[in-house]
Amino acid sequence: MKIALLTPLYPPDIAPLASYTKELAMRMGEEHEVTVVAYGYLPEQAHGVRNMTVDKRTPLFIRLFNYTLLLKKVSRDADIIYAQNGASIEFPLVLVSLFAGTPYMLRLGDGEAQNRAKKSFVLGFIERMAIKNARTVIVPTHQLFAGIHTTVIDDPLVKPEIHPFTNSPVDLSTHEESWNIHIAKLNKLFSHGT
């Protein structure tokens, strides 16, 4: 399956969403063809993952325009789009979805972006349009959206750091298990849509 992952942040950005997307891309890339479409400049490379970026250092309208064009190109080839929330993704996504037939799933994982959308008429409108046109809306915890069916998929655990002064060795099995469950649920959605 050809999957496009859309994200406003990607390593070397330091943010949970950035590392989540890279980890997701690498794991998904083991069985699918994965393209990450991100805002960035010289993203970290990962085996089996194609990176396409729009330079974040350009003015807002230019980068939104460029991201829309890039997304239009990528979506022609993709079987499914998995997008992270945030106006910089939702706006191009809504525009492209009007013309392209590629279904997308929207993950509402960025609470700050949702708060901004609540406070702004324009951002709120963009978010509502993105949610309305999504095949599936994924939330990490139970959230109520009037008239919108959401699917709960817990975020995988953050990988514990290996610190030099802890007595016990780091147990990565729980972390791995959480990712396996996360990927399995996403794969089911990618295949069946619900």
Partner: protein, 369 residues
């Protein structure tokens, strides 16, 4: 007793300035301590390497009305004044920038004023329970790591951020690092033309930096304190207070780590080893490479710095600068080739340093780190 122009010039400047500023500060309600460690020893040699340093006095004292301990920066030198203003702007912007995920603490500003030709900045003195290097190593690690992660949280990667960053803190990209290193190399070799080891070492380093220019660029745009070493911060209640805001720049995120780890290789090699292992265990191989690149860059810079001081020094101090150049060249060789620095090399340098250091400088170093 050593006779050299730079030291004499500094002492003259210092004494003249103290004669003027002491009564000036008293009128403002501040009394100076008897001992002034920041205007003695090798302070006169210290200049920023890639930014011009103006002359200023950094003095310890007390606010007379309540005996609050203070740090006073005072200068009439135009470059020094610009630095104080710049540092003040950096402090303000640092506390305001909304994309900083964590904010460093800063000593409280008690006074910022101009009197005649003098610009005066007074901040509260942050008392520490003990020097950073006297803390248990696990604590040193945790505190420094928190400091680095806080810096990494701010990244100027949008259009608006880039403009703000450049206006306030200045920025460095891979081209800047390569250009700077080429300057270091050129100046070092011009002054040490008979050195057998440095030409090949610096050429290899330059070649490595050029080869991995993209890696340097990839990890750019991060807020980094380019002089993040214990004498530039203080710890109180497990919080890090930055003392020098003018060394903040948007550049490679491992430049600050590089300065810190090169410093610790000399002062606390166990901590240096722990950090190198932490990066290997928790970050990508490319980030380990980036750290190595920036360490070699900073080592080139420190060799350049000491090379530049040679003509300003004589006697024991000059001999000490020669030892430093030799030591840091050996460290560069080790970092460049991924080798461990033998402890004997480190000990031998420390013995030479302690033998050649002036009494005044030895006193200044007590409790500094």
């Amino acid at each position: 007793m050593e006779h050299n122009d730079a030291s004499t010039t500094w002492r003259t400047y210092r004494n003249q300035e103290l004669a003027v500023v002491t009564p000036l500060l008293e009128k403002l309600g501040y009394a100076l301590d008897q001992k002034q460690p920041h205007v003695t020893g090798e302070r006169h040699l210290m200049q920023a390497i890639t930014t011009a340093h103006g002359r200023k006095l950094i003095l310890l004292g007390r606010r007379q009305r309540d005996s609050t301990r203070v740090v006073i920066k005072i200068t009439s030198d135009p470059t020094g004044v610009r630095e104080l203003l710049h540092e003040r702007t950096c402090r303000r912007i640092l506390s305001e920038i909304r994309f900083a995920y964590g904010v460093f603490f800063s000593p409280e500003e008690l006074l910022f004023t101009k009197r005649g030709n003098y610009t005066i900045a007074v901040h509260s003195f942050i008392a520490q329970e003990c020097a950073f290097l006297d803390r248990p190593i696990a604590e040193q690690f945790a505190l420094a790591l928190a400091g680095f992660k806080s810096q990494e949280g701010a990244r100027a990667t949008t259009y608006a951020h880039t403009k703000l960053a450049q206006r306030t803190f200045g920025s460095r990209n891979a081209e800047d690092y390569l250009r700077n290193f080429a300057t270091f190399k050129k100046n070092i070799l011009a002054q040490l033309s008979t050195d057998q080891v440095l030409p090949a070492l610096l050429t290899q380093t330059e070649s490595l930096l050029v080869t991995h220019k993209e890696t340097i660029e990839r990890y750019g745009g991060f807020l980094t304190h380019t002089d993040f070493v214990p004498h530039n911060f203080r710890i109180k209640d497990a919080n890090i207070y930055l003392l020098d805001h003018s060394s903040l720049v948007f550049g490679n995120k491992y430049e600050g780590w590089a300065r810190f780890l090169n410093f610790m290789l000399l002062h606390n090699p166990a901590l240096e080893a722990v950090f190198v292992q932490y990066i290997k265990d928790n970050r990508t191989p490319e980030e380990s490479l980036c750290l190595q690149l920036m360490r070699t860059y900073r080592l080139g810079e420190i060799i350049w710095y000491y090379t530049n001081t040679l003509k300003k020094t004589s006697g024991n101090l000059r001999s000490l600068e020669v030892e430093r150049i030799q030591f840091w060249s050996t460290v560069l060789d080790a970092i460049l080739h991924g080798k461990l620095l033998p402890n004997e090399t480190r000990q031998k340098y420390i013995e030479a340093r302690d033998r050649l250091r002036s009494t005044e400088e030895k006193e200044r170093q007590v409790g500094l780190h």
